[in-house]
């Protein structure tokens, strides 16, 4: 008797993948396709900035390949970082941003807590109103605001226009409504039993906010902080309108007003300044992102 033949080749029918697998595969391919396009789209400008910042003015003006540095130089960086004026812009930006972020969080976190948790008469309307104020663009607001500060100056003699600290009053009009709105949403996701438990445990409203809500909502607070920082660091219109003396300027306006002289654009330094200006938000994002992801609220209730 012949030995038993064992078919080692496996089933002859061609194995088909389930439609789920195929769908997933195509979904992945498309997402990589679009992600690549978006990555190129958003990375090309900063790469171009880096390339240009490493060139001398002569090389920028020469008719060479703009995407390659033939004679790399750090002279743009040396000049900017050695310039008191540029450091002044940087310093002004930093001070304004830190103050604005602090002020914003001091206002919007308690405001959001009150609007989302203490159900008082008109709280819902007020919450919507807060958001609506954010929808008014700054390009509409700057004229009445300017007039307002001018009138205040005329009547009280307190001259705020053309002082860097006028921005401390202006930026919160943009940051407070939005951050309050973010925090209302975040606080609303905290189950109400958590504050009820705290109240029964003997916590006052303020203790509930500081000991329960702020720690639990930390990821939301960090998101709001990042937003407030980005807005105040990158704001252009208000400082352009309200500050004119070079010692009062913040970086975005400072770079434009001092490095463009008439129709002469100092491209190398402009790009360097923009890159150096983009560094602080980048660093902050890099650090806080980890924290942002780590601090999620799992475990508070059922789930």
């Amino acid at each position: 008797m012949s030995s038993l033949a064992i078919d080692k080749s496996g089933p002859t029918r061609k194995v088909r993948y389930g439609s789920m697998t195929r769908d997933r595969l195509w979904a992945l391919r498309w997402s990589y396709f679009f992600l690549t396009i978006f990555a190129i789209f958003s990375l090309v400008p900063p790469i171009y900035m880096v390339i240009t910042s490493l060139k001398s003015s002569a090389e920028i003006g020469a008719a060479t390949n703009p995407w390659w540095v033939f004679h790399p130089t750090l002279s743009n960086y040396k000049e900017l970082l050695g310039s008191n004026q540029f450091l002044r812009f940087f310093w002004n930006s930093a001070i304004v941003s830190i103050f604005v972020v602090t002020l914003t969080m001091l206002i919007s976190v308690p405001a959001a807590f009150a609007l989302s948790r203490m159900k008082f008469w008109g709280s819902a309307t007020l919450a919507t109103g807060v958001f609506l104020t954010y929808l008014i663009p700054d390009s509409l607001l700057f004229l009445p605001l300017f007039k307002m500060f001018a009138v205040i100056g005329d009547y009280t003699g307190i001259q705020l226009i053309n002082k860097w600290y006028v921005l401390l009053f202006l930026y919160p009009t943009l940051t407070v409504p939005f951050c309050t709105w973010i925090m209302i949403g975040y606080f609303a996701s905290i189950p109400k039993e958590l504050d009820e438990a705290a109240i029964i445990d003997g916590a006052s409203w303020f203790q509930t906010l500081t000991r329960i809500f702020i720690p639990v909502a930390l990821p939301g607070i960090i998101a709001a902080t990042i937003f407030a920082f980005t807005v105040s660091w990158a704001q252009f219109l208000y400082p352009l309108v309200f500050t004119t003396s070079t010692d009062q300027l913040v970086m975005p306006v400072g770079i434009i007003t001092t490095l463009i002289k008439g129709d002469v654009f100092n491209w190398g330094q402009i790009m360097t300044g923009a890159l150096l200006g983009a560094a602080p938000p980048l660093i902050i994002y890099a650090f806080l992102m980890d924290y942002y992801i780590a601090g999620l609220t799992a475990g508070a209730t059922k789930g």
Binding site: I200, S204, T301
Partner: protein, 366 residues
């Protein structure tokens, strides 16, 4: 420790009256369970005792003091929530000690109380963990621990076991009972699960549509329900109801269920119902355990009849049988070896010594 009483307590939300005038006295150290279907006002009642909801009318007293306008933190109560409501950023020990720390208790005292409560609840090993590292049952223990360390006048439980799976629920039920035996704190416990209510309570308060239907010990409610709602709500499977009327033949009182089916009442029942008008439309209420297989030598008051089984459910220790009489579905409990199968003719026996007679219109048990 303290007694709690509610006097004509009303809760109204705009148009809706959630709680419609409740009177309830809870003795010191008593374990009272509020039970009822969803929307019956039981949770609202508990939250009013806690002070989380204002009362529209009436008075609530804890330990003799009217607390209508006293904020929750000054009522000296502790509450356990359905979703545990643990503080997610704190460890188990911090969760449990939060209330004591707010009240600035000495550190040594806090530590000893937390240790003691953790030991009682068997969570000593978990004391340094965060809530998200705990299972559902462990989280519920921590929530109870948080209540115990405060040593309050009253414990309030708001459906604490509803998020747990069936097995764990039984286990935690026993834990809660053990804890109450040890600390003897006055407890108000809300649940929609009548088994939980029966097993835990010294007294059960059955609520329906914002009102109290009946207050009594678990056995009282089971054996002497006051209304159709209580009779149908307490007990699983539920009590069977079928329309019937009383009739008198040759001086003996009978209950007529159908044209062909009539049962003579045992003497004790006949004496009890002798004044019920014969024309009254009535409901006969029989618990499933009083509908069993006929044994041939049934005692007095036990009447046999023939039926055809629709569905049988073998439960192991017993078999539940379902059959239809006069359009009403009945559930009975028979011995697993009695030969009950789907669709077979079967001889059942009804124990009329344990029957209930209800007024069909008012739902009152006669």
């Amino acid at each position: 420790m303290a007694e709690v009483s509610l006097r004509k307590v009303v809760k109204r939300y705009d148009e809706v009256e959630a709680v419609r005038g409740i009177d309830l006295d809870i003795a010191d150290q008593e374990f009272v369970v509020l039970v009822g279907p969803s929307g019956c006002g039981k949770s609202t009642t508990l939250r009013m005792i806690a002070g989380l909801e204002d009362i529209t009318d009436g008075d609530i007293t804890i330990g003799g003091d009217v607390v209508n306008d006293v904020p929750p933190k000054d009522r000296d109560i502790a509450m356990v929530f359905q979703n545990y409501a643990l503080y997610p950023h704190m460890t188990v020990a911090e969760n449990m000690s939060f209330g004591l720390r707010l009240k600035r208790y000495p550190k040594a005292e806090i530590k000893s109380r937390v240790t003691e409560a953790a030991r009682m609840l068997d969570i000593t090993d978990l004391i340094d963990r965060k809530p998200k590292q705990l299972s559902g049952g462990q989280r519920q223990r921590v929530a109870m621990g948080r209540a115990i360390v405060r040593n309050p006048k009253v414990f309030l439980f708001d459906e604490p076991l509803s998020n747990l799976d069936a097995k764990l629920r039984v286990q935690m039920r026993i834990e809660i009972k053990k804890v109450h035996q040890k600390v003897r704190t006055t407890t108000v416990y809300v649940t929609h699960d009548q088994v939980e209510a029966m097993t835990l309570a010294d007294r059960v308060v059955v609520m329906n549509k914002g009102k109290i239907e009946q207050i009594g010990t678990p056995n009282d409610l089971y054996h002497s329900p006051a209304t159709r709602f209580v009779a149908g709500f307490i007990g699983s499977p539920a009590m069977n109801f079928v329309p019937c009327r009383l009739e008198e033949t040759a001086g003996a009182l009978n209950v007529r269920v159908t044209d062909r089916l009539t049962f003579p009442l045992p003497p004790a029942r006949a004496a009890r119902y002798k004044n019920v008008p014969r024309s009254e439309r009535l409901l006969l209420g029989i618990r499933p355990e009083h509908l069993t297989e006929a044994s041939g030598h049934d005692g007095p008051g036990v009447e046999a009849f023939d039926t055809v089984l629709d569905v049988t459910e073998p439960m192991g220790m017993e078999t539940l049988v379902y059959f239809t009489l006069e359009g009403a579905q009945f559930c009975g409990r028979v011995d697993p070896n009695a030969g009950a199968h789907d669709g077979v003719p079967f001889r059942m026996a009804v124990d009329l010594n344990n029957m209930h007679l209800l007024n069909e219109a008012t739902g009152v048990v006669l």
